[in-house]
Amino acid sequence: MAKIPLVFKVNGEQQEILVQPYQTLLSALRDELRLTGTKEGCSNGNCGACTVIVNGRTADSCLVLAAEANGAEVTTVEGLSQNGQLHPVQKAFMKYGALQCGFCTPGFLLSAKYLLDSNPNPTEHEIRLAIAGNLCRCTGYDKIVRAIQAVAQAEV
């Protein structure tokens, strides 16, 4: 099976790579571009560790074919900070202890950013709903929710 070209923007940079037709976007990011910040926890859409933003919307990259991203703009955790400045959700996660092992963190950060971009003042329930597709086994979610609330209240 022949590889196919994939031209897309990742974290603002144009990338041109060859991918297998059956390769997932997650695999293209991790194995081809070596952007290993995006994690694989389940490979079937249940844990959200592989969450990235594709054309402005979050997606589980384990359920997206790399080929589907042709022409797309993709943001991964590596692209969250801009010009050496951490994104507020990154700062808040650090400050409020919203991570322990950190394996789920990249996915949560992107879900949180996606939520806050469209809803800068979410209720607790809205926050919980927005991150329900991200599993965390370490924190019990309490500090994650609080960190997101803190960003909304500009307390970072």
Partner: protein
Amino acid sequence: MRLFEFAAPKSLEEAYKILSRADADVRALAGGTDLIDQVHQGRRKPSIVMDIKGIPEMKRLAFDREGLHIGAGASCTDIYNFPPVKKNYISIAESAALVGSVQIQNRAGIGGNICNAAPSADTAPSLIVHNARVVIAGPKGQRVLPIEQFFLGPGQNAMAKDEILLGIVVPPPPASSASHYLRFIPREEMDIAVAGVASMVVIDPKSKVCKTARIALASVAPTPVRAKDAEAVLEGHVINEALIREAGEKAINAAKPITDVRGSIEYRKELVKVLTRRTLTKCLETLGNR
């Protein structure tokens, strides 16, 4: 991951050409939230995966005199954010908002949900109570089918090998009607329905008599099913608490569930009863009749 080729047609003609290839086993890819894992697990073994999202017709979302048009490639997020859906098709909006997580909804659509034909598909009962029609297309032309005839069994739908779903048309809801969908899952999110019920009632504003009632169930039979006995209890009557109870009991008649990791036969029947009552009660509340 099983090996396959990838195609991304930009027009229906192009898609039809691919579908006509005799040597290929083509599967349409919408949001991929069912398909990719199924291929991964070896449960489906297509030789070509055809992404339909690049075909303009597939992304259609419109509301006109004919009703609501949902392209087979529209995502749940697009659908429940579309104001006419929020306003006129509450049950559909509710069920689209239940599919998976935010990440899933950003890609998964109602088209994929019904093509996948899982007994648990959350949007199916809502489409049934809203009398939706599916538009099927292929190299040999288009055809329209009532949604109820679309589901043949778990994972099986009424489309031929060289056909794809173009979209869904949902007629405008009757005046003075309301619809709701509720499912039961052990968690609050990210779960597959143990049982799901959509109800729609049309109430005469003056007499308060129920002119039409439509009730459909998910996850309790090989396909989504109508609970016609329950509907009959309500139609022609002013709905009251007792009738709602009776409808709940009668809804069980349509349920032919199995026992599996998600629940037992008996429990599922109990849930059908409860969810039928609750959706009906919600419909009446929406209509301000309680």
